[in-house]
Amino acid sequence: MSPTNAIAHPYMANSVPEIKAAMLKDIGAKSIAELFEQIPADHRMKKPLKLAPGMRSEADLKKHLVGLLRKNSTCETHLSFLGAGIWQHHVPAICDEIGTRSEFLTSVWGTAMSDHGRNQAWFEFCAQLGELVGMEFVGLPVYSWGCAAGNAIRMAARITGRLEVLVPETLCPERLAVIRQYCEPAEMARHIKVVPVRHDARTGLIDLKDLKARLSDRTAAVYFENPGYLGMIETQGADIARMARAAGAETIVGVDPISLGVLAPPSDYGADIVVGTIQTLGVHMSAGGGAGGFIASRDEEVYAREYPTLNISITDTTHPGEVGFGLTLFHQSSYGLREEGKDWTGNSVYLTAIQNAVYMSLLGPEGFREIGELIIARAHYAARRIGAIKGVSVNWPAGFFKEFVVDFSRTGKTVAKINKALLKRGIFGGKDLSKDFPRLGQSALYAVTECHGADDIDRLVAALKEIL
């Protein structure tokens, strides 16, 4: 045992022996052990707890933790072209400054008055996101993009009374797995059938003929994304929404909001429900721990009354001219109705929403335009340069946002092998698609953001030329 362990623990004020004794005396008990009288003897641990003694010295603890962290390589030590659902975007310093403020970091269930500032920040997350996606109703965030899509599909199923959803066959496998979870297996009474819709191999976009063939009076919703998982900007959104509406189905669009300074908001082309990621708005990747999602729609009761999320509304106070923020539609949540509630809610990624609010107000309309233009330009530059390497092609060389599919099949080398060689040169190559999408051959999904300069792209191209 480390010599510090006889000392009171720095996280526990009452670990001073005299205080414990005084409290016991007040209770009228002889020992702490007797306070656990509710636990029967035969419930007690059979083997004693075997854990290392505590490291009460922060200096020792830090040394240990930093030692572990140092074993990682990062997207700063390496040049990374990984995306596919989690992206390396610049996180402005004040997003971290605000996201680590003790008041926000430690808050939980205060009242609308005592935690007013947090409630206002939540509202400002919804308000700003509402402007980006062009919707009037925005719920507080959910765990991830996939969870948001799953929730939205369940909302559509309840609204339409139908149990089938059409999704692009090129959907992100991680997201699809989550969606399938939310749609339940076939044995369950409320199982929602997930039907893939083909993509047009020439354009990378949804095959409208196939969509038409699969739409029916069983279709609760058509779900598609902009940009899609393979990077393409779906230009047929208005047609898709029109076809869905004609079949009596809802249109759910998944978006990456960092694109919405340059791309049309989904409300422009007929989305009923919008979902998406919030990781790209000022949140670190943290190996996927930065994931977060949102749900938005028109402010119509038919939608609002199906939200599983907690929702924050602006309102007035007893003081004329003052505003406050309180939860609306709380009763329909699982907190209010338990198993009768809309799906479920609980802890989500609410602190992330505050960082998002900071990010959106920092960028403003011009910042979103600039970052969108910078990303799309650099991504196309990367695609042109990579596509010019002998034996390498870019499947759809235009019409994408920040990601594109690179086909290495004709080089005779696997993506796995190429990525290994890139790693040796300090580069994380794009996400290997060969297992998830065998029809694409030896392809990889490359992501380029504002973090990648032209020099970084040139370095990648030089490395690829060397390897291939």
Partner: protein
């Protein structure tokens, strides 16, 4: 000033910051800039042309989003003002069922280091060895505390972990070909609502057992509910009121005998931490909340982690991937090739920054500290009881249950309400005027009138606890001597009491600025207000 106990300290009126801060949508001036991004390099523009032309014409944004235009320091100042109007853990708050702990700031700082913050989940495993080692090492700590054989961290909250259990229950009975038959999950009325809700979302019918006189449901009620339709039991223990079910071992035996799975929601782990192991009681699976019991921050509601652990029998069904240590090479890897796995409940493999907090906390506490934390939590709760019951108007749930409660106790202000007409919501609001946050009341349904559930845990000092009790005593006294003062509270908060009456009115609710402008702003203008916050 008179308080109901001479031993209690004097309470002080405090005042929150009141910045009267405008909504961000009203701030800024056209042309001002916060974050600026460079134009594409000349070489880029030369190669691809104008960036705007790269967006397909049909998909170009026509109208700029109506976001504020502010400088960086203005944005910083705005959100600092908002942060200063958040009570958070700045005062004393004993939110029961939430287990308020200190969130060591060493972890806050370290999680921002690039070695964690800038990791991508698809990086090659050999570049993530430190991270995977942390996950695996923490898994081993939880195994030792619970007796389970494997943990996963994919669930982004306690409810997410309950959902994993519902999904694993589906997978387990699907593999046995019994899923169509086993479509019921049993829970209890004082088990957290996420259990019933996630079971229902996973497609199960839910049976909820009511409480009996002794504070927990009877074993007869359980027997009556069990059948060959039962898929699982999902239960808290101690429950939402701090009552430990002494028959839980027999419950699990009965559930297993019926061919069903038993899941232990360890939301209230502080009371039994280091005293029992879920697996030794016969449970098939359990869940820990890393943002509660293990020192991770609440964040106002996440990012959080529900760590889900289970027996070797259920392990094949766990969500993927799982972090494994290859004993031969000493390398860590992500095992995603798992045929029976239920798949995913959320993308990637967890809020690893929160797992990091929990690992750091567990190492700082150690086995000795974890045991002491549980001891102190139960000590503090029992210390509170005598003093709280000395306050006229306060009563304890299940008063006939005389054994010491565990880490928290549910009380009620029913007697005070009957006497003065003032209940817990008003009292809670007034307590904030003394720098003490309004207590956690109760999850639905309220089985105790005017409930409140303080949980002191191991963090708060004896002086903090005394102060909290003194604040409650003071407000109960005010309810008799100056009821209007309590009824119109809070007086010292960032804002005055909100008008909650119209929050559920579709003509009034507004979750965005757009909706506000359409619904509420015209009324505000008509009554002479210049803007939302003036």
């Amino acid at each position: 000033m008179r308080t109901s106990s001479k031993a209690l300290p004097t309470v002080r009126e405090v005042h929150q910051a009141r910045w009267n801060e405008p909504v961000v949508m009203e701030m800024g001036v056209p042309g001002r800039r916060g974050a600026v991004y460079s134009a594409p390099e000349a070489v880029v523009e030369k190669a691809v042309g104008k960036a705007a032309d790269l967006v397909p014409a049909a998909m170009r944004r026509k109208n700029r989003p109506a976001l504020p235009e502010m400088t960086e320091p203005d944005v910083l100042r705005h959100y600092l003002h908002l942060s200063q109007m958040v009570h958070g853990m700045m005062g004393v708050n004993l939110f029961g069922t939430c287990t308020m702990k200190y969130n060591p700031r060493i972890s806050t700082h370290l999680t921002l280091r690039p070695e964690l913050a800038t990791l991508h989940p698809y990086q090659p495993e050999e570049t993530l060895q430190g991270l995977l080692e942390i996950v695996h090492s923490f898994d081993l700590i939880l195994r030792e505390l619970s007796g389970m054989d494997q943990f996963v961290f994919q669930a982004a909250g306690g409810a997410g972990a309950a959902y994993i259990h519902a999904c694993i229950t589906r997978g387990y009975f699907q593999a046995k070909g019994e899923l169509a038959q086993r479509n019921e999950i049993i829970s209890t009325i004082q088990t957290h609502p996420c259990n019933q809700a996630t079971a229902a979302t996973a497609g199960f019918n839910v049976i909820t057992l009511p409480l009996e006189e002794n504070g927990y449901p009877s074993i007869e009620a359980l027997k009556g509910a069990l059948s060959n339709r039962t898929a699982a039991l999902m239960v808290n223990n101690p429950d939402d009121m701090g009552v430990y079910n002494p028959q839980i071992k027999d419950w699990v035996k009965l559930v297993k005998k019926a061919g069903a799975l038993a899941f232990y929601d360890h939301a209230n782990f502080n009371g039994v931490m280091s005293k029992i192991r879920a697996r030794e009681l016969g449970f098939d699976a359990c869940m820990f909340m890393l943002h509660k019991t293990f020192g991770g921050p609440k964040g106002g509601g996440g990012p959080a982690v529900g760590a889900y652990g289970c027996s070797a029998e259920l392990e094949p069904f766990l969500p993927k991937p799982i972090v494994r240590l290859d004993d031969k090479t000493g390398r860590y890897r992500l095992d995603a090739d798992r045929k029976l796995s239920v798949g995913k409940v959320r993308e990637y493999f967890g809020n690893l920054q929160v797992v990091f907090y929990a690992y750091a906390w567990a190492r700082a506490m150690g086995g000795d500290g974890i045991k002491e934390a549980s001891d102190l939590a139960v000590l503090a709760n029992n210390y509170m009881e005598k003093k709280l019951l000395a306050i006229p108007g306060v009563f304890k749930s299940q008063p006939q249950m005389t054994m010491h409660r565990m880490e928290m106790t549910r009380y009620g202000l029913g007697p005070l309400k009957e006497e003065t007409g003032i209940g817990i919501v008003e009292v809670g609001a007034r307590m904030t005027d003394y720098g003490v946050d309004s207590p956690w009341l109760s999850h639905e349904p309220w089985v105790v009138p005017e409930p409140f559930t303080p949980e002191p845990g191991e963090l708060w000092s004896k002086e903090d606890i005394d102060y909290w009790i003194a604040a409650l005593a003071k407000v109960c006294e005010e309810a008799r001597t100056n009821p209007d003062l309590v009824r119109t509270a809070p007086h010292n908060a960032a804002i005055h009491a909100i008008n909650g009456a119209r929050l559920d009115d579709p003509a009034w609710w507004a979750t965005t600025w757009r909706a506000y402008k359409r619904k509420q702003a015209p009324a505000a203008r008509a009554s002479g207000k210049a803007s939302a916050s003036r």
